[in-house]
Symmetry: C2
Subunit: 444 residues, 2 copies
């Protein structure tokens, strides 16, 4: 199960790229972001570059606390499961990672959708399990506001237990299809799960046979203590946010200890930090592009972005003055890593205007800008330095930055023997060097 080259995943959230107003970039696509051909092209580039996966991230709401969010941000997007199912039909090797929220869906439906996607894609499905931290999301599902952080993670852990039970509810080989005897299935290999827990009651069995991968690949991207614990217990891939090689090494060490506490081996969890590569003739050229992107951010939008992150309206404060007092972690039910980031900005005495610019630039992951060989150098150093098993690549502007990376950096990584030159055989798990999980119900 050894995988000795990098695992590479291409992250797509905002359809035109991760910069908050990427859609305004001159070469950014228009209405075609609501059609299949645009995403099919992105996925074809991924297969040509022998990427392991495309990752369709998601929220189950518009981000619309402030009117400027609606006016200036590309809030509306296709839904991941439908999009990935369509992509399954027009791709062959690429892994299909999709976000579904464990806070706002039913375990039976979610387990079933991923089982079905895994069959349709012949073993390429992966589920990014999130717990959804936005008030806007909660309000689309019967609530007045966000659910408390720990409660969300507790529910997610139970949700995953149920999903795994359901995927196991048809043992391998349970489908007999024996026309002579009339046995479609072997009843002793089909199990009711009879789950009764704090959050859910689900009888099962699932009405889809066990997925080709046993379970779809489980992805987890939460970096709070609760998030890391969920990853260490259940995940196969972990998207981490680390800013330096050294951070990555100590993050890996921390995760290995958590894995051990769950009786798992280090190589059963692949850690992929996010990086934001900008291919340019030089570092200066990359910096110019970044600055140009900042000019595209409407002022009011930037201010409201800061308000969103702070959880309090800052629009009445002087834009060139400091951030307001920030909430305590224990009372902050949004994404905790966001809060930590704001606190560091506050320590650096950045103004609201400056913070707005930083936040518009695609979240917390480090940008690596420069010539293809500069970017490859940095990635190689992290990878060989033990900071990660590969990378989750994020792009400020789509498709431009993605095409540049795929066409210029990937060949360089391949030349160095650290990115795969061709696909391995088998399912996504096989390709990633992950074991096919044993069945919980099978007599061993």
């Amino acid at each position: 199960m050894q995988r000795d080259d990098m695992i590479l995943s291409a992250f797509f959230f905002n359809p035109q790229g991760d910069h908050r107003v990427s859609w305004r970039y001159p070469t950014a696509p228009g209405h075609e972001i609501y059609g299949l051909p645009y995403f099919q092209k992105l996925a074809e580039v991924a297969e040509a570059a022998r990427f392991d996966a495309v990752f369709i991230a998601d929220h189950v709401a518009m981000w619309d606390t402030f009117p400027s969010n609606v006016a200036h941000y590309a809030n509306a997007r296709l839904e991941p499961i439908t999009l990935l199912s369509a992509l399954a039909a027009v791709t062959r090797d690429i892994g299909l990672i999709g976000t579904v929220s464990a806070s706002y869906s039913e375990p039976y439906n979610t387990a079933r959708a991923f089982a079905s996607l895994d069959h349709l894609s012949m073993g390429r499905a992966a589920w990014n399990v999130v717990t959804s931290g936005m008030n806007e999301e909660a309000m689309n599902f019967g609530r007045d506001g966000n659910i408390e952080h720990g409660y969300r993670y507790e529910r997610a852990a139970e949700f995953l237990e149920i999903a795994k039970d359901l995927w196991d509810s048809w043992e391998d080989g349970a489908v007999l299809l024996d026309k002579a005897t009339g046995f479609f299935a072997e009843p002793s290999k089909v199990h009711r799960i009879e789950h009764e827990g704090k959050h859910f009651k689900v009888r099962g069995p699932l009405n889809v046979p066990r997925p080709p991968q046993g379970y779809p690949v489980i992805v987890q991207a939460g970096s709070s203590g609760d998030g890391k614990n969920l990853a260490a217990k259940h995940a196969d891939l972990h998207f981490a946010v680390v800013r330096t090689l050294e951070d990555g090494v100590s993050y890996r060490r921390e995760m290995n200890a958590l894995l051990a506490s769950h009786g798992r081996e280090p190589d059963s969890l692949k850690i992929l930090p996010g990086i934001l590569p900008i291919v340019a003739g030089s570092r200066e050229e990359a910096q110019e592009k970044r600055e140009f992107l900042e000019t595209l951010v409407p002022e009011r939008f930037g201010v409201d972005l800061v308000s969103s992150w702070c959880g309090t309206d800052v629009s009445h404060l002087p834009i060139d003055g400091p951030l307001p007092e920030l909430p305590d972690e224990s009372t902050y039910d949004g994404q905790r890593s966001n809060l930590a980031r704001l606190k560091s900005f506050k320590q650096q005495n950045l103004s609201i205007r400056e913070v707005a610019r930083r936040l518009s630039n695609a979240g917390a992951v480090p940008m690596v800008a420069g010539r293809p060989q500069d970017i490859a150098d940095e990635m190689e150093a992290w990878f060989k330095g033990g900071a990660c098993d590969g990378f989750n690549l994020m792009f400020p502007v789509l498709p431009e930055d993605w095409l540049n990376f795929a066409e210029q950096v990937v060949p360089e990584l391949q030349r160095r023997g650290i990115a795969q030159p061709s696909y391995r055989h088998g399912t996504l798990r096989d390709k990633l060097g992950l074991a096919r999980p044993a069945n919980r119900f099978a007599a061993s």
Copy 2:
């Protein structure tokens, strides 16, 4: 909006066809029923025959009250939304009808999935709204048993109102993508729906722009009073179960009155009765095939099938004796049309064995068996006699009966000018002669 030829939909529930043990038929497919190519072939046949739609029916549970259900019935199946999304990528004109239960899903998620499918398919999505009448389904979603019939339909009506509000929450033209001004959307055209009802509380807006069709085509197949009312209020297509031309004419009359009570025109609801065509050299040959299929039904399976329908275990009763006392409609929370059917069998004094045989033969819809011209005659008579706007075609054995129909009966219908020889342009609504719905939020 006139549509003067038949609307034709091909119904796929059991992957090997509607006979309960179709999977045992010699030419029936095996494990390929869990892969895309099998369904892609079925859909390609539909497009070649210029069918309007393929219809992927569904339950959200295994039917497993009795062990024989698990042993002898092809219970496991792919999930409709994933399957139809994959089919969207490999087809061009065919409508994509999928079942999703309003009892066991969230309005936001369901509205979003269909909106996304409608975008991905360029306006070909259709939703068969069901309320799910099986105990097994209820038990996968936190309940001990089935929800009361009227309550389910009340919830479904509220669910549909929310879905329509959500699809309207982005008005047509709300997406500006104006790079010069920085306006991605026109905020006055994006609406929170602020729904608070008896069953749901949903704020909105949806995070997908309005679907190409405005709303996906709404399909309803319940034939109880509640079911017909829901159809008359909300549906575009209604799958009816009628046994004769005369039944169809009076059903149409009844539905027209219901439509009028909701202020709707008769041609805004297309009624498609189910029929089960068996193409054979002669009626005798068709009868032989039917009898051969009966020999495939394991005895215990047949008895348990009767128990399921009756809602009481009949396995201790003499198999050649009569049915037990049947429950009263008011206390029967399963599918009411099933109960009516059982009552008529009881009146005819059929034995349990005989009833089991009838029930194995694909439900309540009439079989039309014979040469292609015989089947075309019958369909033409119903259609020209005002009994329907087209048909929902069901097949005992897949792909055999479907291929026979598509290749032999469709050309005959086309020759007679009552089936379309080529596709009309536009969305599924356009093709079906259905108006694109006005937006509830738009200033008119």
